[in-house]
Each structure stands twice: as C-alpha cells, then as structure tokens.
C-alpha cells in the first residue's frame, strides 16, 4: 500500500472488517476492561515549527480570547502573549457573560490561573502550551466536580483525570472549567428535572433555539469566545450537532482513536471523544494531543498509528490529496439558502481540486441505518446504570424513558443489532467508499452506529426570527479518515471566511431570562 497518502488509503478495508468480526467474537465472550489507576500518556509528536508561523492572526482581535488555538500558540511562542493574560481574558468573558449563556457548570478560576502562571515561566513545548480549554462535564477531572448534569453524580469528585483530559494537560492545555450538557449526555443542556440551561451563542436571548446537544456548553463556550477550544463526546451527534448549530468545526474521530477512560459511559460501543473547535487547524491540534492507544481502554489498541493531523489541516486553497467527494441523491436539492450553500460548497471544492462523485447507497443500506437499529444502543446505556436504577429511578429525571427502554431488548435482539451494525459497515465500505474518499451526510446516525469519522464546519448563515444563525455541513469518511476530513475542511476554510465570524455578545445583557422546560416526552424525542 502507498505510504504517502492519508491514513485512510493505507488501511486495508477487508482487514478492518475481519478484525471487527474477530473482536465481536471476543466481545461476546466478555472482554474485561483493565482497571489501571494511572492514565496513559501520549507520545509527543515533534512539532513542525512552520505550523506556528502560519497561525498568526490576520485581523485585530478585541481580546486574546478571540484568538484561535493556533493563533494564540504563535503569539505565545513569539512572547507577544502570556498564558496568564490569555486565561484571564477568558475568565473575564465568563464573568461578564456566562450568567446569560450558562455554558459552564464549574469554572476552575484559581487553578487555571496558577497553571497559566506556571506555564508562563517555561519555554513553550507542548502543542497546547497555555491554551485555555473547556471540558464537557462527563470527563473525569481530578479534584473537580464531574456531574454529567445528573443527580446521580451531583457530589462526584474524581481522583484522576480522564485520559483525554490528562493528555490535553500534558500538551500544556489549561482546564478553564467544566461545561453544561444534556443530562448523562442525552439531549440539549438541561437540569435533571428538565429546565433549559445553556443557550445558543448566536441567539442568547432566545432559549427556544437549541444550542445543540449534548455537548451544548462546550459549543457555546467556544462560539461565544469564552474558551479557545473544547472537547465533547458523541454517541448520537453530540459533537457534530452542537458544532453545526453554533458555527464551529466539530470532529468525531474513528471509534477507538481517542481513549474513553474516565468518561462517564452512555453507550460503550458508540461513545467517542472529539474536539469542538473554531477551525480545522484547531480541531487537528486537539485531536493530535488526545489520540493514541491507552492501556486502560482496549478500544484504542491495535489500531494504525496516529498520523500528522496538523499537516493535514495545513492545506491551502487546494486539496492536500486527490479527493473524490461523494454526493448523495437529493443532497443539493435542499430548499432555500441551505440548497444554495450546499451547491456553493460543492462548486468551491471542485475548484479546490475535488472530483465530485454521485453515490447512491442501496435500500438495504437505508434500512440498516434507520432508527430501528439505532435503538440497539439502549441496553448498553441501561446496564452500567442498573445499580442506580435499582436504588431510585427518580435520579434519572427527565431522561428516564430511554434507560427503561434499554431493559426491554433481549439478548438475541442485541446480537441482531450487532450483526446489523457489521452488515451496515460492510455495505458502507462497499457501496460508498469504493467510490469516494469522503461523503456528504444527511445525518449523524449511520456513522455513529458504525464508529466512522465525521466532521462538520460552517458553510454560511441564514436569517431567522431569532437572528442570524450558522449553517453547516456534515462529511463522513472511512476508518481513520480524519486526515482527509481535516484537509477538506482546511481547504474550504482557506477559501472562505464563515468560520471566522463570531456572534455578538448578549444584546439584552445578562439579566434574568425565562428559559423554559422540556418534559420527559420532549426529551425522548430529542434523545441520543
């Protein structure tokens, strides 16, 4: 196989499928999860110094908090910016605005300042040296509350960091705080009894506009320029949906690319960790820092090595690699501005060097991608929470329905779902990725089910009664296609400026706001 293309060209798809089969047999016998106490550390990859010279800001930011990660990295390396100055800029924004946004559950003020001061005294080495980051509240953070917005974890303070969080900090990242989320990662950010919390940064006076869920606070914190970047988790759209709703670049990597150790589980076989970032380069930096095997998470082991995501995201106005862009039937026929934006995207990517290819998956593919098989995830959510369900079902608040449903699928139905997932992956590799390298997607469910990578990024805006709101598109790729997805996003972003636009601060200040409430049935309709 060639060694100079992106990683998706070096993965033998037959071997990938065979591996899945072998693992399925092993999993059916019960694969133990190692109970290692110490999170694994990633091997640092040498940084190409040229990466930072391309990161200098092109405009005049109002505040250091407006910088991207790569822009701030360049200024921190040149000595024009100090980590304390950067962290303080974010903390000031949070202090001034978060009463309206409600993006944070916990702000790590003192420790973030202490850490920034410590980093200010040493030469920048790590990819994220001095960069303030927002962490979704389902990642374990040592000595810091970790609630997943659930009554179950209301007093939980872990004694270790999730591997992803540890790796971000090893790379020099500063944990600014923990972000609001849908209870137990199920829907838009709510209190457990259904009160709406986080608002969309583009419409802060209209709580009825969803910020996207469940990584709602992570998206709002970055879109509102209160944190430079953030991480979230995705089981059913929870990175890409809020990123799309708030004009961000959200990347859900291939299953196993980032460790899930220290993440409160929602669905063991579908949970993914990924960045919600301001552009492709920032997403690449965060993924680079987090990706790689972890002895404490078997899902991360035996996979291809971690490639150079930074190089992939440095693409200029032409695509880094020859790329066939798959287009599904009817995708460009969307009504109104959405259709115009989609057609403009394809036209621009063709100019960037992409070959547009029509892809028409079979009815069988559609069937296997449907909500029917999506339901098979539910027993995986119920099983780890059985103790809490036995103790008191009221702890689950408005999200109880789906935990109860998971108790009513039998073993043979769970196995049927697993077999269907294998069938869907096989069809996806044959019917879609034999013909293209990346493919547009109408929704996140199919690739969430089979653990394939997805990226979203903004392609324009639309006017609504509540104000101007971003529009994004969703692209998928075969296993380990993160480089390819980043390169496409980077080329688009080099040719356009949608990702650089930022929302205005709350027009009506930060006073009281009637936010409303969702009941259990509304949550069930929106649940992951």
């Amino acid at each position: 196989m060639p060694t100079d293309g992106p990683q998706d060209t070096r993965v033998d798809r037959r071997a990938f499928l065979a591996r899945m089969g072998a693992l399925g047999a092993a999993a059916a016998l019960g694969v133990p999860l190692p109970a290692s106490a110490a999170p694994a550390r990633s091997r640092p990859r040498p940084i190409d110094p040229a990466f930072w010279t391309t990161g200098l800001p092109t405009g005049t930011p109002v505040s250091p908090a407006d910088l991207t990660v790569h822009e701030a990295g360049a200024l921190l390396r040149s000595g024009e910016l100090d980590p304390v100055e950067l962290v303080d800029a974010c903390l000031q924004r949070i202090e001034a605005w978060d009463a309206r946004y409600l993006a944070f559950n916990h702000v790590n003020t003192d420790e973030a300042r202490r850490r920034a001061a410590e980093l200010g005294r040493v030469e920048p080495e790590g990819l994220l040296h001095g960069i303030p980051l927002a962490i979704k509240d389902n990642f374990y953070t040592r000595g810091m509350p970790t609630t997943a917005n659930s009554w179950i974890f209301s007093d939980f303070v872990p004694d270790f960091d999730a591997t992803a969080v540890a790796r971000l900090q090893d790379a020099g990242g500063v944990v600014l705080g923990k972000t609001q989320m849908g209870p137990l990662a199920t829907t838009r950010a709510l209190t457990p009894d259904g009160q709406v919390t986080t608002v969309n940064a583009w419409t802060p006076d209209f709580p009825s506009v969803s910020p996207g869920g469940s990584s709602s606070g992570s998206a709002t914190a970055v879109a509102a320029r209160m944190a430079l970047s953030s991480i979230g988790t995705q089981t059913g759209g929870s990175i890409t949906v809020p990123a799309m709703a708030q004009g961000l670049t959200g990347l859900k990597p291939t299953m196993g690319r980032v460790s899930l150790r220290g993440v409160i589980p929602l669905t063991y076989s579908r949970d993914h960790v990924g960045p919600l970032a301001r552009d492709a380069a920032d997403a690449a930096i965060l993924l680079q820092a987090m990706a790689g095997p972890d002895a404490a998470d078997p899902r991360t082991q035996g996979l291809p090595g971690v490639p150079d995501y930074l190089a992939a995201a440095r693409a200029g106005e032409t695509l880094r690699w020859p790329t066939r862009l798959g287009v599904l039937p009817g995708w460009t026929d969307a009504e109104g501005v959405r259709g115009e934006q989609r057609r403009a995207f394809l036209s621009e990517m063709e100019a960037a060097g992409a070959e547009l290819v029509e892809i028409d998956p079979s009815e069988r593919w559609e069937e296997l991608s449907s909500g029917l098989f999506n339901a098979v995830r539910l027993p995986e959510r119920s099983e780890p929470f059985l103790e809490h369900l036995r103790n008191d079902v009221r702890l689950f608040g408005v999200t109880l329905n789906s935990w109860m449903q998971g108790l009513f699928l039998s073993g043979d139905e769970l196995l049927k779902g697993q077999r269907a997932r294998y069938a869907l992956l096989s069809l996806t590799l044959e019917e879609i990725f034999e013909g293209c390298d990346v493919v547009v997607q109408n929704g996140h469910v199919p690739f969430d089910m089979i653990g394939l990578p997805l990226i979203t990024f903004p392609v324009g805006f639309r006017e609504s009664e509540e104000g101007r709101r971003p529009e994004g598109i969703l692209l998928g790729a075969p296993p380990f296609g993160e480089e390819r997805l980043l390169s496409v996003a980077a080329a688009w972003q080099a040719r356009t400026g949608h990702h650089r636009q930022q929302p205005l601060p709350p027009a009506s200040g930060t006073g009281a706001l009637e936010r409303g409430r969702l009941d259990a049935e509304q949550v069930a309709e929106r649940t992951e």
């Binding site: 399925g24 457990p192 108790l407 697993q418």
Partner: protein, 94 residues
C-alpha cells in the same frame, strides 16, 4: 390464540397485558417504579408516561427488530468497531 382461534400478533396485545409484562420484568431485576408519582405532568417522570413509552417501544421496536433477517453465514456479532492487540495489528509504515 385469541378467543376466536386466530394467532395473536403484537398489535393484539392489550395495554393491560403489556403493563403486566413491564411490571414483571422490572420486578425480576429489582427496579421499583412505585417511587414515581402515578400521573403528574409537572414531575420529571411518572408511571403513566413511563408505561406509555415502554408499551410503544414493545409494540413498535421489539417485533420489527426480532423479525429482521440476516444471513446466518455472514456478519458475526460485533460490539466494538476497533480492535484487540493480539488479533489486529495493521502494518503501518509510519
């Protein structure tokens, strides 16, 4: 069989029959819904809504999933689309 002798399908099951099945299953695994209010729209959850949700799930999802056919010679069950080291190292030039 129904009283008329025709085979019964999922749609023929009454709410009472499904509710009894739900209560039995939950009792078997030690889950108690009686701590919830019977019916209270202002509560995060109540027994009426939980039972309604579960009846819909049992009628609509379970029979369709069970009836779906896959070739028994293909697609062994797969839990994780990733790998274990003893069986899976991929040659990677990098």
């Amino acid at each position: 069989m129904s009283p008329q002798g025709a085979p019964r399908g999922p749609d023929d099951l009454t709410d009472e029959e499904l509710d009894q099945y739900i209560r039995t299953r939950l009792t078997l695994i030690g889950i108690d819904l009686s701590v919830l209010p019977e019916e209270d729209p202002d509560a995060p959850a109540d027994r009426v809504r939980i039972h309604r949700s579960l009846r819909n799930f049992l009628r609509n999802t379970v029979p369709r999933l069970s009836a779906y056919e896959l070739d028994p010679q293909s697609y062994p069950p797969v839990l994780y689309p990733s790998a274990l080291p003893p069986v899976t190292e991929i040659d990677d030039a990098d």
